[in-house]
Symmetry: C2
Subunit: 225 residues, 2 copies
């Protein structure tokens, strides 16, 4: 499903070059459940943004579904991002002026789903993260963990074949984290692919494979189940 070869991501900081990723290569097959771990600043979110086609590498090649991402036009990229991929961002990225419900409806709007079905599906997605009673709240009327759950509900609402979750339980208590991981495992059991960035060991050990990143490079890549 995903193939990266010799990926570099470099930022120009005035005179200096900062290499966030330094020659990363790996494959992920359809249906895998991968955890990405590593210290703060090691390059995990940068890598996730490349996988999700939200950013482009400075060097190297990235194939998704057998096609080079750099060969895709804007329509193809938009379709992949909105229909195939569900992305839980580390900083949630919710629309500040829209309700939780409308935020969760967004991917369904891109998918061309009609208003009534969209409403119902978004409601169900919010119910699955225990936020049915907060649907009409805007992000600034929600707690940190509630916003994170809206971001999760939005990522799952399209039933994505590839779920990219960047620290999806950072703001959640252990009971809620457990419920979210159960949701992810249900999605995975249906044959979908899951890549989770996490700092938490109990989250990482529920994956089938753990890739460890350090200073922009892959440091370990172990099958654990």
């Amino acid at each position: 499903l995903i193939s990266m070869r010799n990926i570099w991501k470099t930022y120009q900081m005035g005179e200096e070059e900062l290499h966030a990723l330094r020659g990363v290569s790996f494959d992920v097959q359809r249906g895998e459940y991968v955890a990405i771990i590593g210290p703060s600043g090691s390059g995990k979110s940068t890598l996730m943004n490349l996988i999700g086609c939200l950013d482009t590498p400075s060097q190297g090649h990235y194939w998704i579904n057998g096609k080079l991402a750099s060969d895709m036009n804007d329509d193809e990229l938009a379709r992949i991002r909105n229909k195939e991929i569900g992305f839980v961002f580390q900083t949630f990225n919710l629309l500040a002026r829209a309700t939780a419900l409308h935020n969760v409806e967004l991917p369904l709007i891109y998918a061309g789903i009609g208003a009534t079905e969209r409403h119902e599906t978004a409601k169900r997605s919010l119910a699955s993260v225990e936020l049915a009673d907060r649907m009409m709240h805007k992000p600034n009327e929600l707690s940190g963990g509630q916003r994170q759950r809206v971001a999760i509900a939005r990522a799952l609402v399209n039933h994505p074949s590839l779920l990219l979750a960047d620290e999806p339980t950072g703001a959640l208590d252990s009971k809620t984290s457990f419920e979210i991981m159960n949701l992810f495992e249900r999605l995975h059991a249906e044959g979908n692919t899951i890549i989770v960035v996490t700092h938490e060991h109990d989250i990482a050990e529920r994956a089938h494979r753990v890739i460890s990143i350090r200073d922009g490079k892959i440091d370990k890549d172990d099958r654990i189940r």
Copy 2:
């Protein structure tokens, strides 16, 4: 130092009332180290904002330093917020267009510290959270955990007598979390007061007292050291 009696915080949602806090009462003495735990949405951040004088209760009384917060004028409140209290926000609240260094200098600017000393002090605070080499980055040029550390450095830079930290290690790996907790304990050992909201048990058990919040009420209040 802090005294709350029968504190309520109520939001009007159209026709309905949402009670985020429902009659909270407790005291914190100078020099205590308190952890506040509780499920997502239970009222922890709401409580922290009241303690930090960033918000006012709908009902009840709040004394800080023996004086009713509702009796204070804007100058007194500003002085307390900028000189006495260090606040690590759950959502960091960094200035997006300022560098990490400038963000950390902000409390020193309010304290009237001159430019050279301010620069040095802010640099040292960033070094204490291992971000000396990221001083000139703006928040969107930093990783999630790096932003959290800038927020921590800013909260500590004024050597506050009251540190309020709302989930200060949510975006950090365990090694970095450990280092941050050591910083907090050094501050506490110097006689300062610390109140930390956390979802993580290893963080909570380093405090001397754990207050558990559920549905806007205090559910338990235990001395653990």
